[in-house]
């Protein structure tokens, strides 16, 4: 539209306003800006305040009002994160913020930058027993391939999303959709993924996954048969028979191998459905949201009449679902019909134990990226020395204050749990690549030794004075305090 712009004007495509942004200025939203000719997200620069007591949730503070006297916050209690710090990439020059502070008598330096990661991705762990799709099949978002199904783990399915080949190796829209999906996932938003020849899932970090429209609540401790195996000993002698109702495999104590081994007497129980092996039944009902993932609300509907040859009056029967969320206790009357009774004290414990062993089903999102040479050059004049210092745990790596797991081997390849980072910590550039905050904290002496940009180190108090774009947050209660000397560089 308008006439001729200076050559380093960028056009922002984050929203349909499509602002032209001049170098050093922000767009109409004040959230995207032209930094050195690159479109960069410039949300308020986030500082973390050490939580006064453990267990304090992450709570955004309003921007501080009034003048800052520099005394309210003691230096060691504020950590400058890289969120919103900007980046000097791709220039070979010092990181935007190199901050010094004294912690427990030790001079510490934190090098703060936002990294632009073309080499990055997300490892997704989806807690579900449902079949999401064959291993190695493509995972798609908006129809574009953005990753693949990798291994199934115990009670979970892993997906590997992103990576340089999807971000930059495919079509333009593949890269765009990959970047968009990774960004949403890393910022805690829900995304919809479909797996070739498999399921459609809606996932968000730290939330239960929704598989084909069904929300997973709890991870089963095991299938019905496995549950019989685990608890047979605790039931023996307290009850005559137990049925663990499960959509996958319903287990029956008296017929099951575990019951036989204990010498549980035959009870004449008869189950609807297809018998697989002794004490294990498939398809006792239709799948649903009732007992143990079936569609039943009255468990007696899966029982056929007891066989008079084996059953006896006053026979005690426990029926329970695989998650322990549903249970009922019966005794047979003189005509061998089950009559519901209150669950005896002796059985309450075992039902409670099934329940407590079923953990909430969640989706875990780990961001994985590698700190490239130019990012490391912002920290030191000799990038390999930073790698070395990180490997020797002299330098701690955090992402928005959250601890990063550093992979052994070459380079600085790290993983971080996005739920431990402040909200909306990630951005992107249209390259496409993700923008992630990264901080390197080390002793000032060590920083000088590894060839750090010591002339650019600024005291924390100075940084705090630039309060225009700063936002203070309480640090995540589970994160180790990033400035604490010798806390180790590994995940806590």
């Amino acid at each position: 539209m308008p006439d001729v712009f200076p050559p380093d004007t960028v056009r922002c495509d984050a929203c349909p306003v499509l602002c032209y942004i001049k170098r050093g200025h922000a767009g109409a939203c004040d959230r995207y800006a032209n930094v050195e000719g690159q479109l960069v997200r410039v949300d308020p620069h986030i500082l973390l305040d050490r939580a006064k007591s453990q267990g304090t949730p992450l709570v955004p503070f309003l921007e501080r009002e009034g003048d800052w006297d520099g005394k309210i916050m003691k230096g060691q209690e504020t950590f400058v994160t890289a969120i919103g710090a900007g980046t000097t990439y791709p220039d070979y020059k010092p990181a935007p913020f190199i901050v010094s502070s004294e912690v427990e008598g030790v001079d510490m330096v934190t090098v703060v930058t936002e990294g632009i990661f073309s080499y990055c991705g997300v490892k997704l762990k989806i807690d579900t027993d449902r079949h999401l799709g064959p291993e190695r099949n493509l995972v798609r978002a908006q129809g574009e391939p953005i990753g693949h199904v990798t291994t199934a783990e115990y009670g979970s399915q892993m997906l590997s999303l992103g990576g340089v080949h999807h971000l930059t190796g495919g079509s333009k829209s593949e890269g765009r959709v990959t970047c968009e999906t990774l960004l949403e996932l890393c910022n805690g938003k829900e995304v919809e993924l479909t797996i070739d020849e498999g399921a459609s899932v809606r996932v968000a970090a730290g939330k239960p996954p929704v598989v084909n429209g069904q929300r997973e609540e709890r991870m089963r401790v095991g299938c019905g048969s496995a549950t019989i195996g685990m608890f047979a000993k605790q039931w023996f002698g307290k009850v005559d028979d137990v049925v663990v109702v499960d959509d996958h495999i319903t287990g029956v104590l008296s017929e099951h191998q575990a019951g036989k081994l204990l010498g549980v007497r035959e009870t004449g129980i008869a189950i609807q459905g297809r018998r697989s092996t002794p004490g294990r039944y498939f398809q006792v009902a239709e799948p649903g949201t009732g007992w143990g993932g079936t569609n039943i609300s009255d468990p007696l509907t899966i029982l056929k009449p007891f066989k008079p040859k084996f059953a006896w009056p006053h026979l005690r029967l426990l029926m329970v679902s695989t998650t322990g969320e549903q249970f009922a206790y019966y005794e047979l009357d003189e005509t061998l019909r089950p009559v519901e009774k209150e669950l005896p004290e002796a059985l309450k414990e075992s039902v409670g134990r099934i329940r407590e062993n079923c953990e909430p089903a969640l989706t875990t999102v780990l961001f994985m990226g590698g700190a490239g040479g130019s990012l490391r050059a912002g920290v030191t004049e000799n990038p390999v020395k930073l790698t070395d210092s990180v490997k020797r745990k002299l330098t701690r790596v955090t992402c928005g204050g959250a601890p990063a797991y550093i992979w052994p081997g070459g380079g600085i390849t790290f993983m971080v749990d996005v739920t431990r980072m402040p909200e909306n910590a990630f951005g992107y550039v249209p390259t496409p690549a993700l923008v992630a905050p990264i901080e390197f904290t080390l002793k000032k002496d060590d920083y000088a030794v590894l060839g750090g940009h010591v002339d650019y180190v600024r005291p924390l108090g100075d940084v705090l004075k630039e309060k225009e774009r700063q936002r203070q947050l309480i640090s995540h209660a589970q994160n180790p305090w990033p400035l604490k000397p010798h806390a180790g560089g590994d995940e806590s």
């Binding site: 539209m1 308008p2 984050a14 306003v17 602002c19 032209y20 001049k22 921007e63 968009e180």
Partner: protein, 315 residues
């Protein structure tokens, strides 16, 4: 890459946050729980297409409004045009001057059409649309600088007051201003009218050719600004009390005209910690009224402002 609109409940579980590009709304409705959720759902549904609708007509909306201008088509765009139309013969104004208030107004009307609410507000970065049922009220804090939200006073709006729109404009805010006011807050019938009027009054709080005011052509900062080559305020040096009074009186004059034409109900004008009020707003605390417009040194004095016209909705 088009970022999708963000729709979420704020951590308090009561307010909803709607965000899309430069639009950022905080929404709260009170009433029966089913009514509130119906209103929120309606707001969400309406919200997601608003930015795209506006951007579809952006070139037109960035042009100066004139009596014979081509009329925009979108519902929000029509509100914008209607809000600036009363000014288009007297000054340069584009429909963009009323964009924030018009979006807020569109959402509040969507919500009140969808459900019977006790009261509701939409806050679009300081431009506010209100809904007040019978005997309902809102207490609203007023700021003297939009970039530093320190309150200089409170204002209570009750259902019998005719005010349903409040907007604030100033050179420190997110939009450009031709004037030097830190903040001009306008009370009007609806949010779009308040937004346009706040822009016009803030432009009028001015000291033309004053060397202490730094101005830059809008286009040099933002190449596609609707203000083109007009000089927008980028900095104001500390002014003497005499200069502050002069600039504020310029604004008060303009505001008085708008009030006489029935375009606004009242206004509060802030410049370098001085606050002046148009009739309609009165200060409950003691203040200096030598020239007829109450004067307040903020924020030393926290005032409770009172809006006239409580008994007669058409006053």
């Amino acid at each position: 890459m088009r970022e999708p609109a963000l729709i979420r409940m704020l951590p308090d579980g009561r307010r909803m946050h709607l965000h899309d590009g430069p639009i950022d709304l905080i929404v709260e409705a009170n009433g029966a729980p089913q009514a509130v959720s119906a209103a929120y759902e309606a707001a969400e549904r309406r919200f997601v297409s608003i930015l795209d609708e506006l951007c579809g007509e952006l070139p037109l909306l960035r042009q100066a409004a004139r009596i014979n201008s081509e009329r925009p088509r979108g519902a929000v765009a029509r509100r914008m045009f209607a809000a600036v139309e009363p000014y288009c013969e007297d000054c340069f104004i584009t429909p963009m001057a009323a964009v924030a208030g018009s979006v807020a107004e569109e959402i509040i009307e969507t919500m009140t059409a969808a459900a019977d609410l006790d009261r509701a507000y939409i806050n679009n970065g300081g431009d506010i649309a209100l809904h007040l049922g019978d005997r309902q009220s809102y207490k609203i804090g007023m700021v003297e600088r939009p970039d530093h939200p320190s309150l200089f006073g409170y204002l209570e709006i009750i259902s019998v007051n005719p005010v349903r729109g409040i907007a604030t404009s100033g050179w420190r805010g997110r939009s450009f201003s031709l004037g030097i006011a830190d903040a001009v807050t306008v009370l009007a019938d609806c949010a779009s009218a308040a937004d346009a009027a706040a822009t016009v009054v803030a432009n009028a709080v001015n000291l033309p050719d004053h060397p202490g005011v730094r101005r830059t052509p809008a286009r040099e900062i933002s190449p596609d600004s609707d203000l083109g080559d007009l000089q927008v305020t980028r900095g104001v040096e500390p002014l003497s009390q005499f200069e502050i009074d002069e600039a504020l009186i310029n604004g008060l004059r303009a505001a008085t005209q708008l009030r006489e034409k029935g375009l606004i109900h009242s206004a509060a004008l802030c410049l370098q910690k001085c606050v002046r009020l148009l009739p309609g707003l009165t200060m409950k605390s003691e203040c200096d009224r030598r020239d007829g417009f109450p004067r307040l040194r903020a924020p030393e004095v926290h005032a409770r402002l009172e809006l006239a016209g409580r008994t007669n909705p058409h006053a």
